[in-house]
Symmetry: C2
Subunit: 660 residues, 2 copies
Amino acid sequence: MITCFVNKSKGFLSEGMSKKIIFKPYDLTIEVPEGENLLHAAMTAGIHINASCGGAGVCGKCRILLEEGSLECQPATVLTQEEWDLGYRQACQCTVTTDVVVRIPPESLLDKKTITRRRTGVSLRPAPIDVAALKEEGLYDPAFQKKYLELPPASLSDNICDLSRLETGLHRQHRLDNLTLDFLLVRKLAKVMRQEDFRVTATLDFAQRRSRNPRLVNIEPGDTTHKHFALAVDIGTTTVWAQLLDLAKGEIIGQAADYNGQMSYGDDVISRIIYSQKEGGLKTLQKAVVTTLNNVIRRLLKQHKLPVEEVSHLTLAGNTTMTHLFYGIDPKYIRLAPYTPTACHIPPVRARHLGLDLPEHVFIYAVSSVSSYVGGDIVAGVLASGIYKDPKLTLYIDIGTNGEIVIGNQEWLACAACSAGPAFEGGGIRFGMRASRGAVEEASINPDTAEPMFMTIGMAKPKGICGSGLINLLAALMETGIVLPNGKFRDDLDSPRIRRGPDGLEYVLAWGSETESGEDLTISEVDIENLMRAKGAMFAGYLTLLDSVGLKLQDIEQVILAGAFGNFINIENAIAIGLMPDLPRERFQFVGNGSLTGATLLAFSRELLEEERRVADMMTNFELSETPGFMDKYIAALFLPHTQEEYFPTVTERLRALRG
Amino acid sequence: MITCFVNKSKGFLSEGMSKKIIFKPYDLTIEVPEGENLLHAAMTAGIHINASCGGAGVCGKCRILLEEGSLECQPATVLTQEEWDLGYRQACQCTVTTDVVVRIPPESLLDKKTITRRRTGVSLRPAPIDVAALKEEGLYDPAFQKKYLELPPASLSDNICDLSRLETGLHRQHRLDNLTLDFLLVRKLAKVMRQEDFRVTATLDFAQRRSRNPRLVNIEPGDTTHKHFALAVDIGTTTVWAQLLDLAKGEIIGQAADYNGQMSYGDDVISRIIYSQKEGGLKTLQKAVVTTLNNVIRRLLKQHKLPVEEVSHLTLAGNTTMTHLFYGIDPKYIRLAPYTPTACHIPPVRARHLGLDLPEHVFIYAVSSVSSYVGGDIVAGVLASGIYKDPKLTLYIDIGTNGEIVIGNQEWLACAACSAGPAFEGGGIRFGMRASRGAVEEASINPDTAEPMFMTIGMAKPKGICGSGLINLLAALMETGIVLPNGKFRDDLDSPRIRRGPDGLEYVLAWGSETESGEDLTISEVDIENLMRAKGAMFAGYLTLLDSVGLKLQDIEQVILAGAFGNFINIENAIAIGLMPDLPRERFQFVGNGSLTGATLLAFSRELLEEERRVADMMTNFELSETPGFMDKYIAALFLPHTQEEYFPTVTERLRALRG
């Protein structure tokens, strides 16, 4: 049974040839995939080496001694030739290509507890769509298909209209009947049919909702069956993503993204709704996101040298507000009690009609929403992860600008939105940022010296901290005891890194001399409070949904994570801070951008395109604020990891071990 | 069994209270409907009174003496008070309201043969749509229907999206499911639903081709089920007609027409097609007809004080070229062998998309065409006349800019276009004109003096001669022997009315002093040749189609006439010149504008809207020019009435009696 359309087995860091690293003087051996960064490998092994420039190679603190084997290294700028010749390397600048023995040099050992004894646990990376597996299972069956036709040329004894000639050809050569027609197509029919002497390729859409009649989408001269492309789009509150799909080959050709142009009018859905109520506001917002999408699509097509005419359709997912705004539907009542969206399912709409620079035959198919705050992005993720046809009880968690959760299996699905706020996308956090170049992604802290070791995305000078970085940093601060279970800093620590800042006590992750901006990079008590509120809302959400169906956390057989977590999520740390439930780690999977993955799968699988509304209708929405018990659960969760230790047995045990 | 949706019994001049007129000195008694014009009554009785101003009251020649009873008369301008007191009246200015005795005065008797002995025969007037009968038969069942809904207002325990609320309401209150949605409707849904506290009226379209799902057309606040209107349109090559329909009551409220704005770019379909091939030509023609239709609709709505928002849809019929041009589809191949239209059936199209000033929810439903020269106008007529479900063998004839014929019954239908040219619409005839004010419509000629008696539409000063006038005039010229069977004038007649003009011999119907323009109104040998070609092509068409199925003229059980014949067609005269077959007169019916009637019936009857494509597909098209034997039949028909007398037994007999 296929329960998930994304390749779960590839979600773990296990692929590629593995290489052995022996860390001296501990004789600690770990295996890493070939090409792994050595600093990252040390972090994975739980070995702390001070590193405070994110891997940019400028702080020079992460030096190690290469004793055996060889490493691919960037030329070092902070090492002398003499040091290089002695075997010193900057761990952050080295890639593992052979088995190696490296030694943590004595100067680093002066920092006690180089081995942190933290279990860094399983890092999940987003699972790619496994098209080969889809094809094997017969699930690669796009709703849009091209059919080549050789029609008899018109003559006086056979002068039926061009359209009837085409219909007759589709009947005789492909057994297709009862076409639904697009009028605009008729306008070009006569010309196209005569261009290659009545040899044409028809594009057909076999997924017209609730109707068994194929829709004639496009007609081209000659045989173009080998050129068939589609676009899949995720309209995020912050970012618009698009993937370019080759339907003839069944491949994702490429993807591109840009910030949603609506960002100028507010960071979150509520501020966008407020803006939409101003004179002309809705139009402005609609145009802004369409402009963004036009740019992203143009770039993507240009990059792959594809003429836009070869795109047959566009599938799209987004949260309920983003979907309303994209289609120019007033989102007013999403924000006002009782929080009713205007439409959770939108019929196919001609892309041109919305202002998209796409050929007139292109229609947009949007994934249905469930409620005002559980949108098409979540339904797309549920589709992509296959929960709706999985017998296993599954918890689906999407942490983006908001936090949405789905619990259920093939029999039933319950869902809710947690007003988590955008903390894990960096919102409401002073140095919070999206997962992009320069964002701190992995972090550990030396419990004795409070000195950090961190890596940034792109190993650039640090600019800020992304969602996965915040989780890892908070977990490190908590496990080292620098931050107490109530989210406050210990004020008795003798480290220059802990100081009083504008928002109360704060921890300095990088000094101005090491950062991109020249400003100290910090995390404050206020930031931590926001993170705790966000994770508390999520956790209270899981418990509330489970309560409503009489189930317990332990009953969950798999957890699927989606959202803007950068490239990886450290599941151990997410559990440590109480964001994820403390369940056996092998139950967790990370699908990355579930919304985009779902949109792509809709284009790849007719079954999914046809099922999407049924799945949305299957999802029972809970308004958490209206659900008894939610507030108590929320208050109880405003603690690291939680006021009730029994929910987090492995975390509790480890903390005891660390401190005991 | 209903075989015809138009009220055939009302086609004959038989309705209303009848009044008796006794014409002295002949003691000839006739019955006429109350309100009949006295000059017209004389003409019907076969009594010739010279009258050469068309009934405008200015020539003063049609004077009679009122001996008993009373007449409603316009004040006479050409009679003295003394004459008036003596009982003189101008026949053309009198309306029959009581039984009367009138005397043809001695001075009129000086003209011999006041009684022409011509059998003036049956005048057919267009049969109106009999909505009451449609309703009785259960055929009044518009595809577009309004449904009132009282929905439960949204609450926190029931906050499904507005669209789902509407769908649930339609399911619960009207048992309607699986709606097809129009996206633009979604945009206004939230506002409309809250305007009258979730009480709304939904307009639904139950005739989506090939799909059993109703389409949600519109949604309005409150109960608007009593306000439901539609438009039916006939796009003629010359004239655009529109009828305004009240679907709540099942009534035709009014109609309006205007010349097709494309007239500036050519008189007939061929010249329009040629123009469409010029740079920007297609766009210009499309815009021209849309502008005309916009004006006609605006006038119609204004006249009946109806807001355009209350129109739910538009049904439309037109010939194949007109339909292509209206939709902006290139008609190029209609004109080039092998004469293939691009599309004979066009899916519903949003009216706004074509440039019509109609609300965005209005879609256009066009009647399907059969071939390049048998268009939706003919299919509409076939639908309106019910031939397609009639067991009787029927000949359907539409004489407009072109002549199209259909022969068949419920089992089969054969059709063809005759390149008749627009003679019977006045085209190619020097003083030919459309049936409008000032057009000579009825005519008789005194065989001894060659003096005419004629009436114009609106009884205005004559401007020209319309189709039915040409038929009547040619029949009179032929029966009086002024025109010979070969279509040439006798050159031995001693009358100033027969003279040599710029186009050879000609007959002066009215002198310049009596006409609107001041110019003599004539009909020439060239005009007559054109009329003979037109009628010859039609007659050869009937024979060719009948031949192809092994049938004879005598097998035809009913003849249905449609076309631009003014208000009446004199069937006797149409047979006399050989335009119509010489069959028992009671087999003839006149449906007037069959295209417009068909378009209206589509709006009134879901069955017809659903059946129209099937009926079009049922019609087998014959290209006459490609059909063996057609040319011979055509040549044989270039005679009055025909070279083979056996085709016209009653005409031959009467002519013998007249001359013998």
